[in-house]
């Protein structure tokens, strides 16, 4: 049993760089989102998606020719996973109806294996977009209330700004790299919110504890100590989560590829933001020992804790 080495890294001292870095990330993300936008999947735009498997390698040009001959507008064809599988995506079009997919299946011939067909009507796509935005908003509000209730409003604002930071940057990377954004990616982003928050809460918990248990009143020292004390946990959990996500990313198949990617990006960003963004925020909002001193009733409860 060796004495424990708690690192003494001056996180807050490097705050200025972190703030500049974060602002830059957020700015570039917003820039990319407003210029490039997200490459939305048919879940949100509406349209038809077909995944088709062939017995042997297939030439994309042939498929494209067949489709353009039949006058399907805005058809994009690409390989999906291997050269024996293709993914056809069609924009919602004038003749669009659920029957469209049947027509294409007919066109491609009988020896193909229809692996997946997705048709989303324009109205459903619109609803999913709205609902998705709302879901994100509700999750943030629910968390804001819980954290404000359990901690203090400054902590709530700190954690929310870290979350918004994570979401914007993750979306920004998806926009910058033009990776398709579909329903499962949205689910991943919501999971990122949960994960990043998990990290932030652990740090906050320690900051609160340190404020209450030490004589120090200097918030910078206290926050630094808390970040150092939780550092090995933060890294450990990130590593275990990243390990399983890498397994999903490489082995989980094409369908959850982007889902795993969003989580991978989100976990890395979330780990960074819980160290820098959240704590910088509460520091900037001027957290002090007095803010965390419990009222009389609460202090009894705390005394009663083992």
């Amino acid at each position: 049993m060796k004495a424990l080495n708690i690192p003494k890294i001056d996180f807050i001292g490097k705050q200025t760089y972190a703030i500049i870095f974060s602002l830059l990330l957020v700015f570039v993300s917003i820039f990319s989102l407003s210029i490039n936008g997200l490459k939305l999947g048919i879940d949100f735009t509406g349209g038809t998606l077909l995944e088709v498997g062939y017995q042997q390698d297939v030439d994309l040009a042939d498929v494209r020719a067949t489709l353009s001959e039949a006058k399907f507008k805005g058809a994009s064809v690409r390989y999906f996973g291997s050269t024996k599988e293709i993914l056809i995506r069609l924009e919602p079009q004038a003749i669009s109806s659920a029957k469209l997919s049947s027509k294409i299946i007919h066109l491609l011939g009988n020896d193909v294996d229809i692996r997946r067909v997705e048709f989303v009507g324009p109205k459903v796509g619109e609803e999913l977009t709205n609902d998705g935005g709302l879901a994100m908003l509700y999750a943030l509000i629910g968390i804001l209330i819980y954290v404000a209730f359990r901690f203090e409003y400054r902590f709530a604002l700190g954690s929310i700004s870290a979350l918004i930071h994570d979401v914007i940057v993750t979306l920004g990377i998806f926009s910058f790299l033009q990776i398709e954004f579909n329903l499962t990616v949205l689910a991943a982003i919501l999971a990122v919110i949960g994960y990043s928050l998990n990290d932030t809460i652990v740090v906050f918990d320690r900051i609160r504890e340190n404020f209450l248990s030490t004589r120090h009143t200097d918030p910078i020292k206290i926050i630094n100590a808390a970040l150092n004390q939780t550092l090995s946990r933060t890294l450990m959990t990130s590593v275990t989560t990243l390990l399983v996500l890498l397994a999903l990313f490489f082995l989980g198949g094409e369908i959850i590829h982007n889902f795993a990617l969003a989580l991978l990006i989100g976990v890395v960003i979330g780990t960074y933001s819980s160290i820098y963004v959240a704590s910088s925020m509460i520091l900037a909002l001027g957290i002090s020992k007095q803010d965390l001193l419990p009222s009389e009733k609460e202090s009894k409860e705390i005394d009663a804790r083992p």
Binding site: R116, E118, G121, D131, I201, M236
Partner: protein
């Protein structure tokens, strides 16, 4: 110190054993099976079972086992070939009253299923199948409702000779009275006989005019009924498709979810589900000649021109005797002289109307008009609009040979094939409102199998990586965390199986993610114990305060994640819901295993003894 009471240990062990027991059904795999159930929602019986076994034996089809539950009969097979041939054989021998469908039946041992053990139900993305979201065209429903009220109102007021004119204006009915003093009488009749109509207040001071619309309540009811009727009709149509475990569910106020696991021929499924048709029985106007009407371009009062599919015209009266809604059954057959015919059964409303009509109009003809409504959503100038097309064809015109009400036959049909076709159309026509497929998700069986394989592989690999990492980093404590993690996995599977929640590919991703995050609680605890060891030499105290101090942090962190998961669940459609379910269950079970179970094991190893060192 650091010892749980015997009772607490026993309780923990009991919980874990229970979890393992109910996770167990999932390891047995599944059998290829054919499922036979009754089409009308009736129960299948022992005699059906005997019939099935006899049929299969006589055709030399080998089966593994056959079992009867109150809902259906499951026949299990060793290979795909005998499964498929058995399906065809049974389908032809059992006839239309039974639904014969291919299925995958979990092969859970009898003792386990007697204890209530069930395997997880797999989502469409894992087993293959079709998911449709259908929307009922409520605009058309309201149009039909206005028509119906208009016809009734006209009949009523005409009997009293009250109106000068009556017409439909969009969603309103406008009446012009003959004299002002009949207004009160007209309103009284409307109020007592047609309570679904409300009088609209308008700026028009003309006392001769009455403006009517359908009340909100009645509109709501009409929509509700339309949805219900569609669901019923869809159930019958799905029965015709032969699907083992179909889901047909209302979603919201105007939508229906249809999930057909295992269906591969989606084109046929769409054809059968999407065919939107209705029927009208109308009297033929025998007094006027259709050719004269065509040449003059003027329709006789109360009649309108309709055509057969081959172009022959016929004048039909405007009043509808009965619609497809009133048809409860239509079957083709042969009469006593072996001529093809169609047997029709109407409900009581249709029967009464038919009785009135046939009494009055013996030897007249009744025509059956088949009306097909197609709704397509198209994009025009960047706006989505609905394009409606309606085609009306006369499919039959038969002379009334006697007085009848709700049961009658149409004879004089050329061939048996035509009779079958007519019966099919009549049945199809009993779905009265247009529905449109607004979302479709089909997963082919090969992709489903792929998804399971990849999902399971990524769970195993991810899981192993975490186990190795934890053991390396925390040694004995790491191994304890690993046991807790393994038990957590068993608990998630057990809870999913017991709830019969549907496992989807994103659901598997949720499990994988939970594995990664579940160790977080143990990491928090172990790091805390390490810290305590640094400042305190008593290892027993370090263990206990490590657990205690980490507890609130873990709870806070997990509750916030749970909030995100619950939002996901309430927002989610299919795949996202699956992810949210496994994530939520995983968070809750991981709190139990990572805190309580790991503590129990640590207590067993270190509790109450003098140790110099912790392997952490």
């Amino acid at each position: 110190m650091n010892q749980y009471s015997g009772l607490k240990n026993a309780l923990i062990a009991f919980c874990l054993l229970l979890s393992i027991l109910y996770a167990l059904p999932n390891i047995f795999g599944s059998d290829l099976a054919v499922q036979v159930s009754s089409a009308g929602g009736k129960l299948v019986t022992e005699s059906d079972l005997d019939k099935i076994t006899d049929t299969l034996k006589s055709k030399d089809v080998n089966y593994k086992s056959v079992a009867l539950s109150n809902r259906h009969i499951l026949v299990r097979f060793d290979n795909n070939a005998s499964q498929l041939s058995a399906k065809d054989i049974l389908k032809t021998s059992l006839g239309r009253n039974y639904v014969v469908a291919l299925n995958l039946a979990p092969s859970v041992p009898l003792w386990l299923s007697n204890l209530g053990g069930k395997a997880m139900s797999l989502g469409l993305d894992l087993r293959g199948g079709v998911h449709f979201l259908l929307e009922v065209d409520m605009y058309a429903v309201m149009a039909v409702s206005i028509d119906k009220h208009y016809n009734e109102l006209r009949t009523l007021l005409r009997a009293e000779r009250l109106y000068k004119s009556i017409k439909k204006e969009g969603e309103r009915i406008v009446i012009r009275l003959k004299t002002v003093d009949t207004r009160a009488k007209a309103l009284k009749i409307i109020k007592s006989e047609l309570s679904d109509l409300v009088v609209l207040e308008t700026n028009n001071q003309d006392k001769l005019m009455i403006y009517l619309a359908i009340s909100n309540n009645a509109q709501k009811n009409a929509k509700k009924n339309a949805l219900k009727q569609n669901i019923t009709t869809l159930r019958n149509r799905v029965d015709e498709l032969g699907v083992a475990e179909p889901i047909i569910q209302q979603q919201g106020l105007e939508r229906i979810v249809v999930q057909l696991p295992g269906v591969q021929d989606t084109a046929r499924a769409k054809e059968i589900l999407g065919a939107v048709a209705t029927l009208e029985f109308r009297l033929v106007d025998e007094r006027n000649d259709p050719q004269t009407a065509i040449q003059s371009g003027r329709m006789p009062i109360g009649s309108k021109l309709y055509y057969f599919k081959d172009g022959r015209p016929l004048l039909l009266k405007n009043r509808v005797i009965a619609t497809g809604e009133n048809i409860t059954g239509a079957a083709s057959g042969v009469d006593d002289r072996s001529a093809p015919m169609v047997n029709i059964t109407l409900d009581s409303i249709g029967g009464r109307a038919m009785l009135d009509t046939t009494k009055k109009y013996l030897k007249h003809r009744i025509a059956v008009v088949f009306i097909e409504n197609k709704v397509e959503t198209i994009i025009k100038n960047g706006k989505t609009i609905k394009k409606r097309t309606t085609t009306k064809d006369i499919i039959n015109a038969a002379t009334i040979e006697g007085v009848f009400s709700s049961r009658f036959q149409i004879t004089g049909i050329d061939s048996g094939r035509e009779a079958r076709n007519l019966a099919l159309l009549l049945r199809a026509g009993s779905l009265s409102t247009p529905i449109e497929i607004i979302e479709e998700r089909t997963i082919g069986p090969s992709l489903g199998a792929d998804n399971i394989e990849k999902g399971v592989l990524s769970v195993i690999i991810g899981f192993m990586l975490v186990l190795i990492f934890m053991a390396m980093r925390y040694r004995v404590f790491g191994l304890v965390a690993n046991i807790a993690l393994t038990l957590n996995l068993a608990m998630i599977v057990a809870v999913l199986s017991l709830l019969q929640a549907t496992l989807t590919l994103p659901g598997i991703a949720g499990i994988v993610l939970t594995v990664g995050m579940a160790v977080d609680a143990n990491v928090l605890i172990f790091e805390r114990i390490k810290e305590e060891l640094g400042s305190n030499s008593d290892i027993q105290k370090a263990i206990s305060s490590g657990y205690d101090k980490a507890l609130l942090t873990i709870a806070d962190a997990n509750i916030t994640t749970l909030i995100a998961a619950l939002v996901l669940f309430s927002f989610g459609t299919g795949p996202i819901k699956g992810f949210a379910i496994t994530l939520s269950i995983g968070i809750i079970t991981s709190m139990f295993t990572a805190i309580i179970v790991s503590r129990a094991i640590i207590n067993k190893i270190y509790g109450g003894k003098k140790h110099q060192e912790l392997s952490i």
